[in-house]
C-alpha cells in the first residue's frame, strides 16, 4: 500500500536545507555589509513563520484575519515579559508563549463561529486595535507605548548575540514550520480546512466538525504568530507598540496574496518577496524617485505595496506560486499548448 506522502517529491528538501545553510556564507563572501543582508533575511524568516500561520487561517480555511499584527505583538510582549521579568528561560518561553498566543487565537476564533466574510475581517481588525491598546494599558510590565528592550535569546547556555547566529536560530524554525505545516495541510486536518473554505455547508454535511476545525485553524495560526513574536522580540531586541499597527496586518495579507493564498510555499515566497522588496529594492528606488517628486519613504513603500497587491488581485489571483505552477505545467506538456487547459 502506498504511504500517505508517497506521491510527494521530497528529494529537493536536502538541497534546499543546504542552500539555507550556505546563504549566509555566500553573502559574507560577496559583500562586506553582509550583516545588513542577514538582518533583512532574519526579518523575512520571522515573517515567513507568521505568513504560513496566516495562510493556514486565511488561505486554507478561508477565514479573513486583518489583525495578525495583534498576535505577533502579544507573542513578542509575552515572551519579553516572561524572560526578562519573570526569569523564565528562553527555551521554555519558546514553548509557553506560542501556547498563550494560541489561547488568544481561540478567544478571537470564537466569534468566527457565528460570522464570516467582511464581519470577521472587522472583528479581527478590532482585535488588532484592542490588543495594541491592551499592551499599552499594562504599562507596569510593558512600559506602555515607550517600547521595551529585550534580552538576547539564550538556548542551552549559548547566547545568540548577533544577526549571524540569529539567522541559524530563526531559519531552523522556518524550515521546521514549513515542513510541519505542509504535512499537516496534506493530512485530514488540512483537507477539513479546505472543505470549510470551499463550502461550509458541504463540509458540515460531509462530517467536518465546523466548531472544532475553525477553532483549530485560529489556534494553529495564532501559535505560529506567537512563535514569530518570540523570535521577533529576542532577535530585534527592541519592541514597541507602534510597530504592530493595522498596516503591518495588511502587509501580512499582501504577503500571502502575492505569494498565492492556499499554499504553504506561496506564503513563503510572498513573505520573502515582500520583505526583500521593502528593505532592498525600495531604498534603492527611493533616490531615483526623489529626483522627480518630493515624497517620503513610507509613502513610496505604501504606494508600491498597494499597487503590487492591486495588480496581483486583478491579473494574477493565484500569486507567485500560481505563476510557478503554470510554468511547470508548461514545461511538462511542452509541445502541447497548455493554455487550453487553463481558462
Amino acid at each position: 500500500m502506498k504511504s500517505r506522502y508517497a506521491d510527494e517529491n521530497l528529494s529537493w528538501i536536502a538541497p534546499l536545507v543546504l542552500l539555507v545553510i550556505a546563504i549566509p556564507f555566500l553573502i559574507r563572501g560577496v559583500t562586506f555589509s553582509y550583516k545588513y543582508y542577514l538582518y533583512v533575511l532574519n526579518i523575512a524568516g520571522i515573517y515567513t513563520i507568521l505568513a504560513v500561520g496566516l495562510d493556514i487561517l486565511s488561505g486554507y480555511t478561508g477565514l479573513i484575519s486583518l489583525g495578525h499584527a495583534g498576535f505577533l505583538a502579544i507573542g513578542a510582549y509575552t515572551s519579553a515579559v516572561l524572560v526578562d521579568q519573570a526569569g523564565v528561560p528562553f527555551g521554555l518561553s519558546l514553548i509557553i508563549t506560542p501556547i498563550i498566543t494560541g489561547l488568544f487565537g481561540l478567544v478571537v476564533g470564537f466569534p468566527a463561529l457565528r460570522i464570516s466574510g467582511m464581519y470577521l475581517g472587522l472583528t479581527t481588525m478590532g482585535f488588532g486595535f484592542i490588543a495594541r491598546r491592551l499592551i499599552i494599558a499594562l504599562r507596569a510590565w510593558t512600559e506602555g507605548s515607550a517600547g521595551l528592550e529585550v534580552s538576547n535569546p539564550v538556548l542551552f547556555g549559548f547566547e545568540f548575540a548577533n544577526d549571524w547566529t540569529n539567522y541559524f536560530l530563526i531559519f531552523t524554525f522556518v524550515v521546521a514550520v514549513i515542513v510541519v505545516a505542509r504535512r499537516v495541510m496534506n493530512s485530514k486536518i488540512g483537507r477539513a480546512f479546505m472543505a470549510i473554505r470551499d463550502s461550509e455547508r458541504a463540509a458540515e454535511a460531509a462530517g467536518v466538525n465546523l466548531t472544532r476545525y475553525k477553532l483549530l485553524a485560529f489556534f494553529m495560526s495564532a501559535v505560529l504568530a506567537g512563535l514569530a513574536g518570540v523570535l521577533f522580540a529576542h532577535t530585534m531586541r527592541f519592541i514597541s507598540t507602534d510597530h504592530f499597527d493595522i498596516l503591518l496586518s495588511i502587509y501580512f495579507i499582501i504577503m500571502i496574496l502575492v505569494g498565492g493564498a492556499g499554499s504553504i510555499y506561496g506564503a513563503v515566497l510572498g513573505s520573502v518577496f515582500i520583505v526583500l522588496l521593502d528593505f532592498l529594492l525600495i531604498p534603492a528606488f527611493k533616490d531615483w524617485m526623489a529626483l522627480f517628486v518630493a515624497i517620503e519613504v513610507a509613502d513610496i513603500q505604501s504606494l508600491i505595496f498597494g499597487l503590487i497587491m492591486f495588480l496581483f488581485i486583478i491579473f494574477q489571483p493565484m500569486g507567485l506560486y500560481g505563476v510557478w505552477l503554470k510554468i511547470r505545467i508548461y514545461w511538462k506538456l511542452f509541445p502541447f499548448n497548455p493554455r487550453k487547459r487553463f481558462t
Partner: protein
Amino acid sequence: MTETFGGLTQEVVSGIALGCIYALIALGFTLIYKATEVVNFAQGELMMVGAYVNFFFVSALLEVPLLNGAWAFIIALVGAVAFAVLFGAFLDLIINRPLKDEPVFSVIMATISLAIILRAVMAVIAGPMTRIPPSPFGSSVITFGGVAVSTLDMFIILSAVVLVVVFYLFFNRTKWGIAMKATAEDPMAAHLVGIPVKKVYRNVWIFSMVVATIGGVLLAPRTLLDTHMGFLGLKAFPAAVLGGFGSIPGAIVGGVIMGVIETVSMGTLSFHFPWVKEINDVIVWIVLIAVLMIRPTGILGQEEVDRV
C-alpha cells in the same frame, strides 16, 4: 449635580455631530454595498480625496478678486462634486468591473489596497503637512439653553439627516432605486428584465463618491486636513455594523449611537472612572465585537437567508 448633567448634555450633542459624520461615511459604503455587495474599505480615503479637492478649489478661488467668500465656497463645492462624479465613474471602471464575482476576500483586499494607494498618492500631491481648511461658517456658535453647538456641527447633522432621508426615499420609492436593489439581489436576473446593470453600478459608485465628498468637505474644518483623515473611515465601519450593514436608516442610527458612546466615554466616563481612559480609542471596536456576538445583523439590519 447640575454641572455634571450640563456637561453630559453637551457631550451628547457633540457626540451626535460626530455620529453624523460616521453616518455620512457609513452611508457611502452602505450605498455601494446595497447595489453591488462590494464592501468598500476605502470610503474614508474617498472622503479624504474629496476634502482635499475641495480645499484646493477653495484656496484657489479665495485668491480671485471680485469673488466674495460665500461664492467661493459654493463654487468650490460644485467643483468638488463634479470631480467626485468623474472619480466615482473611474473607480467603477477600475475596482468594480474587474472584481465582479471574485471572492469576498479579494474584493476586501482590493479596496484596502485602493485605500493605501489613494493615501500615498494624496501625500505625494499635497505634501506631508497638515492643512487648516477655512470653514465656510467661521467659528460661529449657536447656544440652546446652555448647550453650545457650532454652526458647522449643525450643518453636519442637517446634511446627514437630509442625505439619509433622500437616499431612503430613493431606494424605496423611485424606479432607479428599486433597480439598484434588484441588481444587488441578482445581477443576472436584473439584466434579463432590462435593468441597465452597468449604469446602475456606475451610478452607485458616483453617488457614494459624492456623499464621501460632502462628508469630507464638512469634516475637514472640524478635524484638520491631512492624509490620515481616512482612518476615520475605519471607525465608521463599527457604526454601520451596529446599525445593520446595508440599511440606510441603520447608518444614521448606528453612527449616532457610536458617536455618543465615544464622546461620553471620552468625557464624563473617563472623568469618573479612570480606567475608561485606557480603552477610549478602541471603545467602538469593543462595542462592535459585542454587537456581532449578540446580534450579527445589527439593530436595523435584516437577516439574510440564502439557499444552498
